[in-house]
Each structure stands twice: as structure tokens, then as C-alpha cells.
């Protein structure tokens, strides 16, 4: 006993803690299936969302409002209808029909030429086109917008080559029904949020509950080890692995999907680590509520993954949700994370622009961890 007692207070901490951390890594890496899942899942998800779900734009139906019907507008219309991307579905008689046309659901793009388009273009060298996109399918809408933009730019180039006067066509692209959708790369932040939540919350809760199920938790609780060490050591491998996953996702998105990181990489990482802490806290919280691995899986699946899919703005834009769901979505950490990642990573916004998201996530982390540590302790009784 002497050998144990003397040094118990301080020098033991590190060794004791590292024994635990090592044990957790063994648990994970000796279970090949878990390792495969954790390493491959982000890769598969990114590729799935990147290639399968962001559908190529094909046969998108277009309605045209063309009051002047002159050479220029006809030409542009023909060019748009020429490829396999768009089908000119109908002509509108007045702008008043826009809303109804979209609501019918067939047409997802409407192009409005300004009055006397051709004449204006010839005389003033300046004419306007308005492109309205139904952005309730954000990926398709933004691709369609890009195509139309480039078709118009093409036409403008042609005109410039023929005449030496500078022509200017100003396409004004507007996303309807989802106005804040600013990028087609929506899914990368979403996948990041989902993977981190899945690995951290689900895996952590299962790992802790497994010890309860196996009876080893009882042995740990009967030992002098502090519960906080048990908890921290459980979390540390998932912390490392999810960071690794984050880097995998970023590399894939930059080099395979061509989605650049336009903002500050350092802050993107800090933000993600903060979110990882929140997710780990949620995993711990779940583990204090349930006693079986199956229950932990269900609870994290239903309680964590579903909200990430449905309420975080990953799949459905939060702006177009009914107020109740919008309100509900504010308690979903992934909502704030995904929003902040979009701004930093895709829009290249400075970190000051997402201070609110940072603050909310930090607050959530503090609350969740405090509550679950308290809960975890009471389990000793």
C-alpha cells in the first residue's frame, strides 16, 4: 500500500490519465469495423453529396417574359434553349404571372427581359435581364443561375466582337423562396456538421454506455479514479479522430469537389473544435441518460442526427421553415455551426462576422458539459 499512497496526490495524474487515454485508443483501433466506419464515412458522405446529390442541371424548364420580342431577345432565348440544360417551356404575357408559374412547380427559372431590350442595347449599349430562380432546390438553382449567366456573358462577347461599341447586358439574378442561399456548396458545411456530430456524440455516448453494459464502469467507479478523468479520456480519441475527419473533409472539398476555403483556415478550425466540444458534451449527456448501447444509438440518432439533417439548414433552409421550426432550430447546435462555416469557409467572411455563432456555441458547450458532468457524478450514488 505504501507505494500507492505516497504518490497518490499529484504525480499520478498524468500517468493515470494517459493509461486511460491509451486504453480508449486500443478500444477503438482494435475494433476494425469502427475504424473503417469512422475513417470512410466522411469520405463517402462528401462524395455522395458532392456528386450524387448536387444534380447536374439538365432539362430545367424555363419561362420567358419578353415584351419586345426583338432579334437580341430571340437570340438569347435560342442560345438558352439550345443546350440540354434548359427547355423553353412557355412565354409569359405579364410579370404578374410569375408567382403563379413558380407555384405550379414545373418551371424553376423565369427570365424577364426589360422593355425594348434590343433597342436599348443598340442605342445605349445597356440593357437589363432579370433571372428569377426557384431556390427551394438550392443546388440546382445556383447551377442554373451560373449557366444562364455564362450564356448571357457569351452573347455579350459575341456582340462586342462584331461591333466596337461596349455593350453591356446586366443580368440580375434573384433567388426566390430561399433568398439567403448564396452558394451551391451548401452541403460541405452540412456534411461537416453531421459527421462531427455523428462521430462525437454517437460514438462517445456508445463508448461510455458500453462500459456500463459490460460492468467495467462499476469497477472504475469503485476505484479512486475521478469521474472527470474517465470522461475526458473517453472523449480524447474522438476529439482527435473528428479533427482528422474535419481535415479529410476539407481536403476532399478543396481538391476533389473544387470547393475552396475562402476564409481563415485557423478560425475555421477553432470553430470546428468548439463544435466538437459541444458534440462530445452531447454524447456524454446521452450516456448519462441511457443504460444500453442500443438506447444510446437511438437517442443520438433521433436526438442528434435527425435535427442536424432536418433543422440545421443542412438540407432545408432555415429561412423557409415555419416559425415554430425556426424557433426549434435555434437549439440545434449544428444550425449555428453550419451557418458559421458557410460564412467563414464559403463566403470568406472575417471571424468578427460570426461572433454570435461562436458565442452561442460556447454557451451551449458550457451548459451541456456542466449539466452532464453533474448528471454523470450523480450516477455514482
Amino acid at each position: 500500500m505504501n507505494m500507492a499512497k505516497n504518490n497518490f496526490q499529484f504525480s499520478i495524474f498524468n500517468f493515470q490519465f494517459w493509461c486511460f487515454v491509451q486504453k480508449e485508443f486500443y478500444h477503438i483501433f482494435r475494433d476494425r469495423r469502427t475504424v473503417m466506419v469512422m475513417i470512410l464515412m466522411p469520405i463517402i458522405q462528401v462524395i455522395l453529396f458532392g456528386f450524387a446529390i448536387t444534380t447536374e442541371v439538365k432539362n430545367v424548364k424555363i419561362a420567358i417574359y419578353d415584351p419586345s420580342r426583338d432579334v437580341a431577345t430571340q437570340h438569347i432565348t435560342e442560345k438558352i434553349g439550345a443546350g440540354e440544360f434548359f427547355i423553353i417551356d412557355r412565354y409569359l404575357n405579364s410579370p404578374a404571372e410569375i408567382d403563379r408559374t413558380f407555384r405550379e412547380g414545373e418551371v424553376s427559372v423565369i427570365i424577364l427581359f426589360s422593355d425594348n431590350f434590343g433597342e436599348r442595347l443598340l442605342h445605349t449599349g445597356d440593357a437589363g435581364i432579370q433571372v428569377l430562380l426557384d431556390a427551394s432546390e438550392p443546388n440546382q438553382a445556383s447551377s442554373a443561375g451560373m449557366y444562364i449567366n455564362s450564356i448571357i456573358a457569351d452573347y455579350q462577347q459575341e456582340l462586342m466582337r462584331e461591333a466596337s461599341i461596349p455593350f453591356q447586358i446586366r443580368p440580375e439574378i434573384r433567388m426566390l423562396y430561399n433568398p439567403s442561399m448564396k452558394s451551391g456548396y451548401n452541403f460541405v458545411p452540412g456534411v461537416m456538421g453531421m459527421i462531427l456530430m455523428l462521430i462525437c456524440a454517437m460514438m462517445t455516448s456508445i463508448a461510455i454506455v458500453r462500459e456500463k453494459e459490460m460492468g467495467t464502469m462499476e469497477v472504475l467507479l469503485a476505484s479512486p479514479v475521478k469521474p472527470i478523468y474517465v470522461v475526458l479520456s473517453k472523449m480524447s480519441p474522438y476529439f482527435v479522430i473528428s479533427w482528422f475527419n474535419l481535415i479529410t473533409i476539407l481536403l476532399l472539398s478543396v481538391y476533389v469537389l473544387g470547393v475552396p476555403v475562402s476564409g481563415n483556415l485557423f478560425w475555421l478550425n477553432v470553430l470546428s473544435l468548439l463544435f466538437i466540444v459541444v458534440a462530445l458534451g452531447l454524447g456524454l449527456f446521452i450516456s448519462t441518460l441511457v443504460d444500453t448501447q442500443v438506447a444510446a444509438m437511438l437517442a443520438s440518432g433521433m436526438g442528434m442526427i435527425m435535427p442536424v439533417m432536418l433543422l440545421s439548414g443542412f438540407v432545408f433552409p432555415t429561412e423557409s421553415m415555419p416559425p415554430v421550426l425556426q424557433w426549434l432550430s435555434t437549439v440545434v447546435p449544428a444550425r449555428w455551426y453550419i451557418a458559421a462555416v458557410r460564412r467563414i469557409m464559403i463566403e470568406g467572411a472575417p471571424v468578427q462576422a460570426v461572433w454570435k455563432e461562436f458565442a452561442i456555441l460556447a454557451g451551449m458547450a458550457a451548459v451541456i458539459i456542466t449539466v452532464s458532468l453533474k448528471n454523470f457524478k450523480s450516477r455514482l450514488e
Binding site: M1, M3, F15, C19, F20, Y26, G215, V219, P224
Partner: protein
Amino acid sequence: MKDITAKNLTKRFGDFTAVDSISFEVERGEIFGFLGANGAGKTTAMRMLCGLSQPTAGEGYVAGFNIDTEAEKVKAHIGYMSQKFSLYEDLRVWENVRLFAGIYGVRKDLIKPKTEETLAKIDLTAERNTLVKEIPLGWKQKLSFSIATFHNPNIVFLDEPTGGVDPLTRRRFWDMIQEAAEGGMTVFVTTHYMDEAEYCNRVSIMVDGKIEALDTPRNLRKQFAAENMDAVFHQLARKATRIEN
């Protein structure tokens, strides 16, 4: 010197009184058998003594520390072996030893030599690199006991340490227990094998949360005019009203 003292120790879960005001004392170096049918309250009582569960009423001292207010100190001075010989199945034999040595604060430089010594003693040296899930139950049991006593605790608590093990292995296991007790360790052991009660210095028999008998096996046999401990136990257990689970 008393290593374990319980005074009117009580645990209630709502309306249900799992442990009903039990009192006893255990001397240092004693093998104390804690007997009772399933559901009699043995495990609950033991959990209170190990600092795993808070008593509802009464008090207890283990290794000189109050089990309620000084639970952490109690934990540092005891060893605990649970019913399932809970080791980590996906860790190797020596990794399990080192983990628990680390948990109990054994000095780092002492762990290695002591591990070798321990494994040699239970003939597991050749299996040191084997995953625990691949070794037979009897070996797990020995390993589990060695790990529970690795840090030389004053007291070791064994919760049904021989469940599911064949008679010969049980016999050998009791040799290990006796050896530990001879070395001055106090052993608190629950069991429902009545033949094992004979190996204990003293036994208590719990029925429906209360201690109905407490003495040496010989005196108990005399008191109940029984041939063996099994007969003693049956006389007492017949009074039980709780449903066994």
C-alpha cells in the same frame, strides 16, 4: 483492529428497503463471508461499503474512513472485484494489469516488475500478450483477483467471485484468497455457494435485507443444529418473503 464497521446501515430505493439496518464488524486479516439469496441485499450492502452507493441511514467505516463522507479515501484503500470479473476484453492481459495499476496509483517504475511477478504467480506469463476475451473464464477470474489486489489494498471486496466457475477452479481460487488473508489483507466476500462458506472465518447470512445470523461456520452449524452450512442457510432462507430474481 476493525477494518470494516457497519452501524445500522440502511439503503432504501423509494418504498423498498434493500438493506435494513445491518450492523457488523470485520477484523483485519479476516475472511468475512457475506451470504444471502439473490435479492437479499448483499450487493447493495457491498456497494455502500465500497463507496459506490450512498447509505440512506446509518454509518459505515472502511479502512478507518467514513463510507459516506470519505468515499474517495475508502476507494483508494480497497480492491474491488465485481461479479462479472469485469476486465477489458479487448485489451491484452498485461494491458489490463497496467491500466488498473495506473488507476490505483501504483508507482510507474514498480508496475513492470510487479506485473511480471503477478503473472508468474497465476501462470499467465505465457499469455501476457493475449487479449482477455480469448482466455478461459477461470483464468479471467484469477487475473481479475490479482488485479483487484495488485495495489496491496487493506481490504478486498469480492462480489460473487466464483460464479460460473468449475469446482476445481473454485477450490484453487479460495487458496488465493486464503493466501491474501494470511498476508494481512481483509477479505469481504459474497457468495451463494454454501460449501465456500466453510472457508470463511466468519459468515453473515442476509435474509430480506437483514442479517439473520453472524458467527463462525462451526458455531452456526451448532446453533441451527445443522450438518453443514447449506442446511443452515436453508433454515434461514425459508423465512424470506421477497421474490428471488
